[in-house]
Subunit: 274 residues, 2 copies
Protein backbone atom coordinates (compact mmCIF):
# COMPACT_ATOMS: atom_id res chain seq x y z
CA UNK A 1 0.00 0.00 0.00
CA UNK A 2 3.00 2.30 0.35
CA UNK A 3 1.35 4.27 3.15
CA UNK A 4 2.98 7.65 3.82
CA UNK A 5 2.15 9.74 6.89
CA UNK A 6 2.21 13.30 5.54
CA UNK A 7 1.46 15.16 8.77
CA UNK A 8 -0.08 14.66 12.16
CA UNK A 9 -1.31 16.86 15.00
CA UNK A 10 -2.00 15.76 18.52
CA UNK A 11 -5.71 16.22 19.25
CA UNK A 12 -7.64 15.28 22.38
CA UNK A 13 -4.80 13.01 23.53
CA UNK A 14 -4.89 11.17 20.20
CA UNK A 15 -3.65 12.11 16.73
CA UNK A 16 -5.27 13.62 13.68
CA UNK A 17 -3.26 12.28 10.76
CA UNK A 18 -3.02 12.81 7.00
CA UNK A 19 -1.87 9.95 4.80
CA UNK A 20 -1.09 9.36 1.14
CA UNK A 21 -0.92 5.95 -0.50
CA UNK A 22 -1.04 4.20 -3.87
CA UNK A 23 -4.45 2.84 -4.77
CA UNK A 24 -4.79 -0.26 -6.89
CA UNK A 25 -8.40 0.63 -7.67
CA UNK A 26 -7.91 4.19 -8.87
CA UNK A 27 -4.34 3.66 -10.11
CA UNK A 28 -3.44 7.02 -8.56
CA UNK A 29 -2.11 8.22 -5.26
CA UNK A 30 -4.97 8.77 -2.83
CA UNK A 31 -5.27 10.87 0.32
CA UNK A 32 -7.15 10.27 3.52
CA UNK A 33 -7.20 11.65 7.05
CA UNK A 34 -7.80 9.84 10.30
CA UNK A 35 -8.35 10.52 13.94
CA UNK A 36 -6.71 7.82 16.01
CA UNK A 37 -7.65 8.27 19.66
CA UNK A 38 -5.17 5.64 20.84
CA UNK A 39 -2.18 3.67 19.61
CA UNK A 40 -2.76 1.51 16.54
CA UNK A 41 -2.74 -1.72 18.52
CA UNK A 42 -5.56 -0.46 20.76
CA UNK A 43 -7.92 0.44 17.90
CA UNK A 44 -10.73 -2.10 17.49
CA UNK A 45 -13.26 -0.34 15.25
CA UNK A 46 -13.02 1.97 12.26
CA UNK A 47 -15.70 4.38 11.05
CA UNK A 48 -15.41 5.44 7.42
CA UNK A 49 -16.58 9.01 6.77
CA UNK A 50 -17.44 9.89 3.16
CA UNK A 51 -17.55 13.60 2.34
CA UNK A 52 -19.71 15.57 -0.05
CA UNK A 53 -19.22 17.45 -3.31
CA UNK A 54 -16.09 19.63 -3.56
CA UNK A 55 -14.63 18.24 -0.33
CA UNK A 56 -11.28 16.58 0.28
CA UNK A 57 -9.99 14.48 3.17
CA UNK A 58 -9.63 17.73 5.11
CA UNK A 59 -13.18 19.08 5.57
CA UNK A 60 -14.65 16.67 8.05
CA UNK A 61 -11.57 16.21 10.17
CA UNK A 62 -11.12 19.98 10.65
CA UNK A 63 -14.75 21.08 10.92
CA UNK A 64 -16.98 18.39 12.40
CA UNK A 65 -15.57 18.31 15.91
CA UNK A 66 -15.64 14.50 15.92
CA UNK A 67 -12.34 14.11 17.76
CA UNK A 68 -13.86 15.16 21.05
CA UNK A 69 -16.37 12.31 20.97
CA UNK A 70 -13.90 9.66 19.79
CA UNK A 71 -11.32 10.67 22.38
CA UNK A 72 -10.67 7.91 24.86
CA UNK A 73 -12.49 5.26 22.81
CA UNK A 74 -10.98 2.44 20.77
CA UNK A 75 -12.72 3.69 17.61
CA UNK A 76 -10.86 5.53 14.85
CA UNK A 77 -12.37 7.46 11.96
CA UNK A 78 -11.00 7.46 8.43
CA UNK A 79 -11.97 10.14 5.89
CA UNK A 80 -10.98 9.52 2.26
CA UNK A 81 -10.74 12.15 -0.42
CA UNK A 82 -13.83 12.37 -2.64
CA UNK A 83 -12.16 11.42 -5.95
CA UNK A 84 -8.83 10.60 -7.54
CA UNK A 85 -6.57 13.63 -8.03
CA UNK A 86 -3.79 14.62 -10.36
CA UNK A 87 -5.54 13.46 -13.52
CA UNK A 88 -6.80 15.52 -16.41
CA UNK A 89 -9.67 13.49 -17.79
CA UNK A 90 -12.11 15.01 -20.30
CA UNK A 91 -14.41 17.38 -18.38
CA UNK A 92 -12.97 16.32 -15.03
CA UNK A 93 -12.40 19.79 -13.61
CA UNK A 94 -15.18 21.73 -15.30
CA UNK A 95 -17.98 21.45 -12.76
CA UNK A 96 -18.32 21.09 -9.00
CA UNK A 97 -20.73 18.17 -9.29
CA UNK A 98 -18.88 15.86 -11.66
CA UNK A 99 -15.30 14.64 -11.89
CA UNK A 100 -12.74 15.78 -9.34
CA UNK A 101 -14.27 16.18 -5.89
CA UNK A 102 -17.45 14.49 -7.09
CA UNK A 103 -16.89 10.78 -7.66
CA UNK A 104 -20.25 9.72 -6.23
CA UNK A 105 -18.37 6.61 -4.98
CA UNK A 106 -19.18 4.52 -8.05
CA UNK A 107 -17.08 2.25 -10.27
CA UNK A 108 -17.20 4.21 -13.51
CA UNK A 109 -17.66 2.41 -16.81
CA UNK A 110 -17.64 5.30 -19.27
CA UNK A 111 -14.69 6.07 -21.54
CA UNK A 112 -12.24 8.40 -19.86
CA UNK A 113 -13.41 7.56 -16.34
CA UNK A 114 -13.47 3.78 -16.27
CA UNK A 115 -9.76 3.43 -15.55
CA UNK A 116 -9.44 5.68 -12.47
CA UNK A 117 -12.88 6.52 -11.09
CA UNK A 118 -13.20 3.20 -9.30
CA UNK A 119 -14.09 4.80 -5.99
CA UNK A 120 -16.55 2.14 -4.87
CA UNK A 121 -13.78 -0.44 -5.05
CA UNK A 122 -11.32 2.03 -3.55
CA UNK A 123 -13.47 2.27 -0.40
CA UNK A 124 -14.60 -1.33 -0.18
CA UNK A 125 -11.36 -3.04 -1.23
CA UNK A 126 -8.32 -0.80 -0.90
CA UNK A 127 -9.28 1.04 2.27
CA UNK A 128 -10.88 -1.89 4.06
CA UNK A 129 -7.80 -3.99 3.28
CA UNK A 130 -5.49 -1.17 4.35
CA UNK A 131 -7.21 -0.80 7.72
CA UNK A 132 -7.18 -4.56 8.23
CA UNK A 133 -3.49 -4.83 7.51
CA UNK A 134 -2.19 -1.59 9.05
CA UNK A 135 -4.40 -1.44 12.16
CA UNK A 136 -5.35 -5.11 12.55
CA UNK A 137 -8.94 -3.88 12.75
CA UNK A 138 -11.76 -5.97 11.40
CA UNK A 139 -14.83 -4.04 12.54
CA UNK A 140 -16.21 -1.32 10.31
CA UNK A 141 -19.10 1.07 9.98
CA UNK A 142 -19.78 3.90 7.54
CA UNK A 143 -21.23 7.38 7.51
CA UNK A 144 -21.17 10.44 5.29
CA UNK A 145 -22.65 13.75 4.23
CA UNK A 146 -24.66 14.65 1.12
CA UNK A 147 -22.91 12.87 -1.80
CA UNK A 148 -20.97 11.05 0.92
CA UNK A 149 -24.23 10.19 2.66
CA UNK A 150 -25.29 8.61 -0.63
CA UNK A 151 -21.98 6.75 -0.67
CA UNK A 152 -22.40 5.56 2.91
CA UNK A 153 -25.93 4.30 2.28
CA UNK A 154 -25.08 2.57 -0.97
CA UNK A 155 -21.87 0.96 0.24
CA UNK A 156 -23.34 0.10 3.63
CA UNK A 157 -26.44 -1.50 2.10
CA UNK A 158 -24.45 -3.51 -0.46
CA UNK A 159 -21.60 -4.50 1.86
CA UNK A 160 -23.47 -5.26 5.04
CA UNK A 161 -21.04 -8.10 5.75
CA UNK A 162 -18.32 -5.46 6.16
CA UNK A 163 -20.13 -2.45 7.63
CA UNK A 164 -22.07 -3.03 10.85
CA UNK A 165 -23.71 0.38 11.01
CA UNK A 166 -24.77 3.04 8.53
CA UNK A 167 -25.56 6.68 9.21
CA UNK A 168 -25.76 9.85 7.16
CA UNK A 169 -26.19 13.59 7.32
CA UNK A 170 -28.25 15.16 4.55
CA UNK A 171 -27.75 12.23 2.16
CA UNK A 172 -28.69 12.10 -1.51
CA UNK A 173 -30.99 9.10 -1.06
CA UNK A 174 -32.37 8.65 -4.55
CA UNK A 175 -29.80 9.89 -7.07
CA UNK A 176 -31.69 8.40 -10.05
CA UNK A 177 -34.39 10.99 -9.38
CA UNK A 178 -32.38 14.17 -8.77
CA UNK A 179 -30.29 16.42 -11.06
CA UNK A 180 -26.98 15.88 -9.23
CA UNK A 181 -27.40 12.13 -9.31
CA UNK A 182 -28.65 11.88 -12.87
CA UNK A 183 -25.73 13.92 -14.18
CA UNK A 184 -23.22 11.83 -12.25
CA UNK A 185 -24.72 8.43 -12.96
CA UNK A 186 -25.05 9.19 -16.66
CA UNK A 187 -21.51 10.54 -16.75
CA UNK A 188 -19.93 7.62 -14.93
CA UNK A 189 -22.18 4.76 -16.01
CA UNK A 190 -23.78 5.75 -19.30
CA UNK A 191 -27.43 6.10 -20.20
CA UNK A 192 -28.78 2.63 -19.24
CA UNK A 193 -30.67 3.41 -16.05
CA UNK A 194 -30.83 -0.25 -15.04
CA UNK A 195 -27.11 0.06 -14.28
CA UNK A 196 -27.74 3.05 -12.02
CA UNK A 197 -29.86 1.09 -9.57
CA UNK A 198 -27.00 -0.46 -7.67
CA UNK A 199 -25.84 3.04 -6.79
CA UNK A 200 -29.21 4.29 -5.58
CA UNK A 201 -29.96 3.77 -1.89
CA UNK A 202 -33.72 3.91 -2.31
CA UNK A 203 -33.55 1.24 -5.03
CA UNK A 204 -31.16 -0.88 -2.97
CA UNK A 205 -33.49 -0.98 0.01
CA UNK A 206 -35.62 -3.48 -1.87
CA UNK A 207 -32.80 -5.42 -3.38
CA UNK A 208 -29.95 -7.76 -2.60
CA UNK A 209 -28.43 -8.05 0.84
CA UNK A 210 -30.58 -6.98 3.72
CA UNK A 211 -28.95 -4.64 6.18
CA UNK A 212 -30.83 -5.47 9.36
CA UNK A 213 -29.41 -2.75 11.62
CA UNK A 214 -31.24 0.51 12.00
CA UNK A 215 -29.98 3.23 9.63
CA UNK A 216 -29.58 6.66 11.27
CA UNK A 217 -30.13 9.85 9.23
CA UNK A 218 -30.10 13.49 10.28
CA UNK A 219 -31.60 16.01 7.88
CA UNK A 220 -31.91 19.77 8.31
CA UNK A 221 -35.24 21.31 7.38
CA UNK A 222 -33.58 24.56 6.23
CA UNK A 223 -31.35 22.60 3.85
CA UNK A 224 -31.49 24.32 0.47
CA UNK A 225 -30.99 20.99 -1.34
CA UNK A 226 -33.66 19.00 0.48
CA UNK A 227 -36.49 19.42 -1.98
CA UNK A 228 -34.71 18.96 -5.31
CA UNK A 229 -31.60 16.90 -4.62
CA UNK A 230 -31.83 14.97 -1.37
CA UNK A 231 -35.41 13.64 -1.60
CA UNK A 232 -35.30 12.18 1.90
CA UNK A 233 -38.94 11.15 1.90
CA UNK A 234 -38.42 8.77 -1.03
CA UNK A 235 -36.13 6.73 1.18
CA UNK A 236 -38.40 6.93 4.20
CA UNK A 237 -41.42 5.80 2.19
CA UNK A 238 -39.56 2.88 0.66
CA UNK A 239 -38.22 1.82 4.07
CA UNK A 240 -41.73 1.96 5.53
CA UNK A 241 -43.13 -0.10 2.69
CA UNK A 242 -40.43 -2.75 3.19
CA UNK A 243 -40.52 -2.47 6.98
CA UNK A 244 -36.83 -1.61 7.23
CA UNK A 245 -35.61 0.13 10.39
CA UNK A 246 -34.66 3.74 9.59
CA UNK A 247 -34.46 6.62 12.07
CA UNK A 248 -34.65 9.98 10.32
CA UNK A 249 -34.31 13.04 12.53
CA UNK A 250 -35.56 16.13 10.76
CA UNK A 251 -33.94 19.15 12.40
CA UNK A 252 -35.82 22.43 12.34
CA UNK A 253 -33.78 25.38 11.09
CA UNK A 254 -30.56 23.50 10.24
CA UNK A 255 -28.95 23.81 6.80
CA UNK A 256 -26.57 21.72 4.67
CA UNK A 257 -23.32 22.97 6.26
CA UNK A 258 -20.74 21.56 8.64
CA UNK A 259 -22.37 23.69 11.34
CA UNK A 260 -25.24 21.22 11.11
CA UNK A 261 -22.96 18.20 11.16
CA UNK A 262 -20.98 19.43 14.15
CA UNK A 263 -24.22 20.03 16.06
CA UNK A 264 -25.26 16.39 15.83
CA UNK A 265 -22.05 14.41 15.27
CA UNK A 266 -21.95 13.34 18.91
CA UNK A 267 -25.08 11.24 18.48
CA UNK A 268 -23.75 9.63 15.30
CA UNK A 269 -20.42 8.76 16.92
CA UNK A 270 -22.29 7.14 19.81
CA UNK A 271 -24.47 5.21 17.35
CA UNK A 272 -21.37 3.82 15.60
CA UNK A 273 -19.33 3.19 18.73
CA UNK A 274 -22.10 1.30 20.53
CA UNK B 1 -22.37 50.88 11.80
CA UNK B 2 -24.37 49.63 8.82
CA UNK B 3 -24.29 46.05 10.06
CA UNK B 4 -25.13 43.49 7.35
CA UNK B 5 -25.81 39.83 8.14
CA UNK B 6 -24.20 38.01 5.22
CA UNK B 7 -25.09 34.45 6.20
CA UNK B 8 -26.04 32.35 9.17
CA UNK B 9 -26.26 28.68 10.03
CA UNK B 10 -28.09 27.16 12.93
CA UNK B 11 -25.56 25.47 15.23
CA UNK B 12 -26.18 23.78 18.59
CA UNK B 13 -29.57 25.46 18.89
CA UNK B 14 -27.98 28.88 18.35
CA UNK B 15 -26.64 30.60 15.24
CA UNK B 16 -23.21 30.96 13.68
CA UNK B 17 -23.35 34.25 11.80
CA UNK B 18 -21.18 36.21 9.39
CA UNK B 19 -21.44 39.99 9.32
CA UNK B 20 -20.01 42.87 7.31
CA UNK B 21 -19.98 46.48 8.47
CA UNK B 22 -18.33 49.84 7.87
CA UNK B 23 -15.50 50.59 10.26
CA UNK B 24 -14.72 54.14 11.28
CA UNK B 25 -11.28 53.09 12.48
CA UNK B 26 -10.08 51.27 9.37
CA UNK B 27 -12.21 53.27 6.93
CA UNK B 28 -13.01 50.03 5.13
CA UNK B 29 -15.69 47.42 5.31
CA UNK B 30 -14.81 44.82 7.94
CA UNK B 31 -15.95 41.24 8.46
CA UNK B 32 -16.55 39.27 11.59
CA UNK B 33 -18.26 36.05 12.61
CA UNK B 34 -20.18 35.26 15.76
CA UNK B 35 -21.74 32.38 17.55
CA UNK B 36 -24.88 33.52 19.32
CA UNK B 37 -26.24 30.72 21.49
CA UNK B 38 -29.48 32.56 22.23
CA UNK B 39 -31.52 35.52 21.04
CA UNK B 40 -29.77 38.89 21.13
CA UNK B 41 -31.73 40.09 24.12
CA UNK B 42 -30.60 37.12 26.19
CA UNK B 43 -26.86 37.61 25.55
CA UNK B 44 -25.08 39.12 28.56
CA UNK B 45 -21.39 38.54 27.84
CA UNK B 46 -19.23 38.72 24.72
CA UNK B 47 -15.87 37.00 24.21
CA UNK B 48 -13.68 38.51 21.50
CA UNK B 49 -11.55 35.96 19.67
CA UNK B 50 -8.54 37.30 17.76
CA UNK B 51 -7.07 35.00 15.12
CA UNK B 52 -3.52 34.48 13.96
CA UNK B 53 -1.49 35.17 10.82
CA UNK B 54 -3.24 34.46 7.49
CA UNK B 55 -6.60 33.86 9.15
CA UNK B 56 -9.94 35.52 8.50
CA UNK B 57 -13.14 35.64 10.51
CA UNK B 58 -13.78 32.09 9.30
CA UNK B 59 -11.01 29.93 10.82
CA UNK B 60 -11.94 29.87 14.47
CA UNK B 61 -15.67 29.65 14.02
CA UNK B 62 -15.40 26.64 11.67
CA UNK B 63 -12.50 24.77 13.29
CA UNK B 64 -12.31 25.35 17.05
CA UNK B 65 -15.50 23.59 18.08
CA UNK B 66 -16.37 26.42 20.47
CA UNK B 67 -20.09 26.37 19.70
CA UNK B 68 -20.62 23.21 21.68
CA UNK B 69 -19.34 24.81 24.86
CA UNK B 70 -21.17 28.11 24.41
CA UNK B 71 -24.46 26.36 23.62
CA UNK B 72 -27.09 27.06 26.20
CA UNK B 73 -25.11 29.88 27.86
CA UNK B 74 -25.73 33.62 27.65
CA UNK B 75 -22.24 34.21 26.26
CA UNK B 76 -21.57 34.95 22.59
CA UNK B 77 -18.23 34.93 20.80
CA UNK B 78 -17.19 37.43 18.15
CA UNK B 79 -14.29 36.76 15.76
CA UNK B 80 -13.05 39.70 13.70
CA UNK B 81 -11.01 39.42 10.53
CA UNK B 82 -7.26 39.87 11.08
CA UNK B 83 -6.82 43.01 8.95
CA UNK B 84 -8.64 45.41 6.66
CA UNK B 85 -9.34 44.01 3.20
CA UNK B 86 -9.86 45.37 -0.27
CA UNK B 87 -6.93 47.76 -0.16
CA UNK B 88 -3.76 47.68 -2.19
CA UNK B 89 -1.23 49.36 0.05
CA UNK B 90 2.49 49.18 -0.75
CA UNK B 91 3.70 45.66 0.16
CA UNK B 92 0.36 44.74 1.72
CA UNK B 93 -0.08 41.42 -0.02
CA UNK B 94 3.53 40.32 -0.46
CA UNK B 95 4.10 38.30 2.71
CA UNK B 96 2.05 36.18 5.08
CA UNK B 97 3.38 37.96 8.17
CA UNK B 98 2.79 41.60 7.26
CA UNK B 99 -0.12 43.52 5.76
CA UNK B 100 -3.31 41.71 4.85
CA UNK B 101 -4.08 38.92 7.30
CA UNK B 102 -1.33 40.16 9.62
CA UNK B 103 -2.33 43.44 11.28
CA UNK B 104 -0.85 42.54 14.67
CA UNK B 105 -3.78 44.55 16.11
CA UNK B 106 -1.85 47.83 16.28
CA UNK B 107 -2.69 51.39 15.28
CA UNK B 108 -0.20 51.89 12.47
CA UNK B 109 1.67 55.18 12.14
CA UNK B 110 3.81 54.51 9.06
CA UNK B 111 3.06 56.03 5.67
CA UNK B 112 0.75 53.83 3.63
CA UNK B 113 -0.63 52.02 6.68
CA UNK B 114 -1.54 54.83 9.07
CA UNK B 115 -4.89 55.51 7.46
CA UNK B 116 -6.42 52.01 7.48
CA UNK B 117 -4.41 49.71 9.73
CA UNK B 118 -6.01 51.01 12.91
CA UNK B 119 -6.89 47.57 14.15
CA UNK B 120 -6.33 48.28 17.84
CA UNK B 121 -8.96 50.99 17.68
CA UNK B 122 -11.13 48.80 15.49
CA UNK B 123 -11.29 46.18 18.23
CA UNK B 124 -11.44 48.48 21.24
CA UNK B 125 -13.71 51.18 19.83
CA UNK B 126 -15.69 50.02 16.81
CA UNK B 127 -16.39 46.46 17.89
CA UNK B 128 -16.94 47.17 21.57
CA UNK B 129 -19.34 49.96 20.63
CA UNK B 130 -21.07 47.75 18.08
CA UNK B 131 -21.67 45.00 20.62
CA UNK B 132 -22.88 47.50 23.18
CA UNK B 133 -25.37 49.02 20.77
CA UNK B 134 -26.49 45.97 18.81
CA UNK B 135 -26.61 43.43 21.63
CA UNK B 136 -27.00 45.70 24.67
CA UNK B 137 -24.07 43.80 26.16
CA UNK B 138 -21.60 45.52 28.43
CA UNK B 139 -19.46 42.63 29.64
CA UNK B 140 -16.41 41.61 27.63
CA UNK B 141 -13.44 39.32 27.69
CA UNK B 142 -10.80 38.53 25.11
CA UNK B 143 -8.81 35.61 23.81
CA UNK B 144 -6.82 34.69 20.74
CA UNK B 145 -4.24 32.50 19.04
CA UNK B 146 -0.64 33.24 18.07
CA UNK B 147 -0.68 36.79 16.59
CA UNK B 148 -4.22 36.96 17.99
CA UNK B 149 -2.96 35.75 21.35
CA UNK B 150 -0.57 38.71 21.25
CA UNK B 151 -3.54 40.93 20.40
CA UNK B 152 -5.62 39.52 23.24
CA UNK B 153 -2.84 39.99 25.80
CA UNK B 154 -1.98 43.51 24.66
CA UNK B 155 -5.55 44.73 24.38
CA UNK B 156 -6.63 42.95 27.53
CA UNK B 157 -3.74 44.35 29.56
CA UNK B 158 -4.23 47.90 28.29
CA UNK B 159 -8.03 47.90 28.41
CA UNK B 160 -8.67 46.06 31.65
CA UNK B 161 -11.64 48.35 32.31
CA UNK B 162 -13.33 46.76 29.28
CA UNK B 163 -12.08 43.16 29.27
CA UNK B 164 -12.64 41.16 32.45
CA UNK B 165 -10.69 38.10 31.41
CA UNK B 166 -7.76 37.37 29.11
CA UNK B 167 -6.68 34.04 27.70
CA UNK B 168 -4.54 32.87 24.81
CA UNK B 169 -3.41 29.86 22.84
CA UNK B 170 0.20 29.88 21.66
CA UNK B 171 0.52 33.69 21.92
CA UNK B 172 3.40 35.82 20.66
CA UNK B 173 4.17 37.24 24.10
CA UNK B 174 7.20 39.39 23.39
CA UNK B 175 7.02 40.64 19.80
CA UNK B 176 9.88 43.12 20.29
CA UNK B 177 12.17 40.13 20.65
CA UNK B 178 11.04 37.85 17.81
CA UNK B 179 11.34 38.06 14.01
CA UNK B 180 7.57 38.14 13.32
CA UNK B 181 7.06 40.91 15.85
CA UNK B 182 10.06 42.98 14.87
CA UNK B 183 9.09 42.95 11.21
CA UNK B 184 5.51 43.94 12.00
CA UNK B 185 6.25 46.57 14.62
CA UNK B 186 8.89 48.21 12.43
CA UNK B 187 6.56 48.10 9.44
CA UNK B 188 3.55 49.53 11.24
CA UNK B 189 5.23 51.82 13.79
CA UNK B 190 8.65 52.72 12.41
CA UNK B 191 12.07 52.14 13.92
CA UNK B 192 11.69 53.81 17.34
CA UNK B 193 11.45 50.82 19.63
CA UNK B 194 10.09 52.89 22.52
CA UNK B 195 6.86 53.08 20.52
CA UNK B 196 6.73 49.31 20.21
CA UNK B 197 6.44 48.74 23.96
CA UNK B 198 2.74 49.44 24.18
CA UNK B 199 2.16 46.55 21.81
CA UNK B 200 4.34 44.07 23.67
CA UNK B 201 2.60 41.98 26.34
CA UNK B 202 5.77 41.24 28.28
CA UNK B 203 6.60 44.96 28.41
CA UNK B 204 3.06 45.87 29.34
CA UNK B 205 3.04 43.55 32.34
CA UNK B 206 5.18 46.06 34.19
CA UNK B 207 3.44 49.12 32.91
CA UNK B 208 0.23 51.07 33.04
CA UNK B 209 -3.04 49.55 34.13
CA UNK B 210 -2.84 46.46 36.23
CA UNK B 211 -5.00 43.58 35.10
CA UNK B 212 -5.63 41.77 38.36
CA UNK B 213 -7.40 38.70 37.02
CA UNK B 214 -5.44 35.57 36.29
CA UNK B 215 -4.36 35.29 32.65
CA UNK B 216 -4.81 31.82 31.15
CA UNK B 217 -2.41 30.54 28.47
CA UNK B 218 -2.17 27.16 26.75
CA UNK B 219 1.01 26.40 24.85
CA UNK B 220 1.88 23.23 22.93
CA UNK B 221 5.37 21.86 23.48
CA UNK B 222 5.57 20.51 19.92
CA UNK B 223 4.79 24.00 18.56
CA UNK B 224 7.32 24.74 15.82
CA UNK B 225 7.21 28.47 16.64
CA UNK B 226 7.69 28.21 20.38
CA UNK B 227 11.43 28.73 20.53
CA UNK B 228 11.93 31.55 18.04
CA UNK B 229 8.65 33.42 17.83
CA UNK B 230 6.43 32.83 20.83
CA UNK B 231 9.01 33.09 23.67
CA UNK B 232 6.48 32.05 26.30
CA UNK B 233 9.02 31.96 29.10
CA UNK B 234 9.79 35.67 28.74
CA UNK B 235 6.22 36.39 29.76
CA UNK B 236 6.22 33.84 32.56
CA UNK B 237 9.45 35.19 34.03
CA UNK B 238 8.23 38.78 33.93
CA UNK B 239 4.95 37.80 35.54
CA UNK B 240 6.78 35.95 38.30
CA UNK B 241 9.05 38.90 38.95
CA UNK B 242 6.05 41.23 39.24
CA UNK B 243 3.92 38.67 41.05
CA UNK B 244 1.15 38.76 38.45
CA UNK B 245 -1.22 35.80 38.28
CA UNK B 246 -0.62 33.82 35.10
CA UNK B 247 -1.55 30.19 34.48
CA UNK B 248 0.44 28.68 31.63
CA UNK B 249 -0.39 25.11 30.68
CA UNK B 250 2.36 23.57 28.61
CA UNK B 251 0.86 20.68 26.63
CA UNK B 252 3.15 17.82 25.72
CA UNK B 253 3.05 16.87 22.04
CA UNK B 254 0.62 19.58 20.84
CA UNK B 255 1.50 21.84 17.93
CA UNK B 256 0.43 25.29 16.69
CA UNK B 257 -2.69 24.17 14.81
CA UNK B 258 -6.43 24.38 15.39
CA UNK B 259 -6.28 20.73 16.43
CA UNK B 260 -4.52 22.02 19.55
CA UNK B 261 -7.04 24.81 20.07
CA UNK B 262 -10.04 22.53 19.69
CA UNK B 263 -8.55 20.11 22.24
CA UNK B 264 -8.48 22.76 24.98
CA UNK B 265 -11.09 25.35 23.99
CA UNK B 266 -13.59 23.95 26.49
CA UNK B 267 -11.44 25.03 29.40
CA UNK B 268 -10.96 28.53 27.96
CA UNK B 269 -14.67 28.97 27.36
CA UNK B 270 -15.36 27.97 30.95
CA UNK B 271 -12.69 30.40 32.17
CA UNK B 272 -14.35 33.26 30.27
CA UNK B 273 -17.93 32.33 31.08
CA UNK B 274 -17.31 31.99 34.81
Amino acid sequence: MNLVLKKQSKSFDGYTKYYEHDSLSTMTKMNFSTFEPKEKEEIVHCIFWLSGLTCTEDNFITKAGAQKFLAGTNTMILCPDTSPRGLNLPGEHESYDFGSGASFYVNATTPGYEKNYQMYDYIVRDLVELVRSEYKVNSFSIMGHSMGGHGALVIGLRESHIFKKISAFSPIVNPMKCPWGQKALRGYLGSDQELWKKYDATELLGDGEIHTQKILIDQGLADEFLENELLTNNFINKAKKLNRPVEVNFREGYDHSYFFISSFIENHIKFHAE
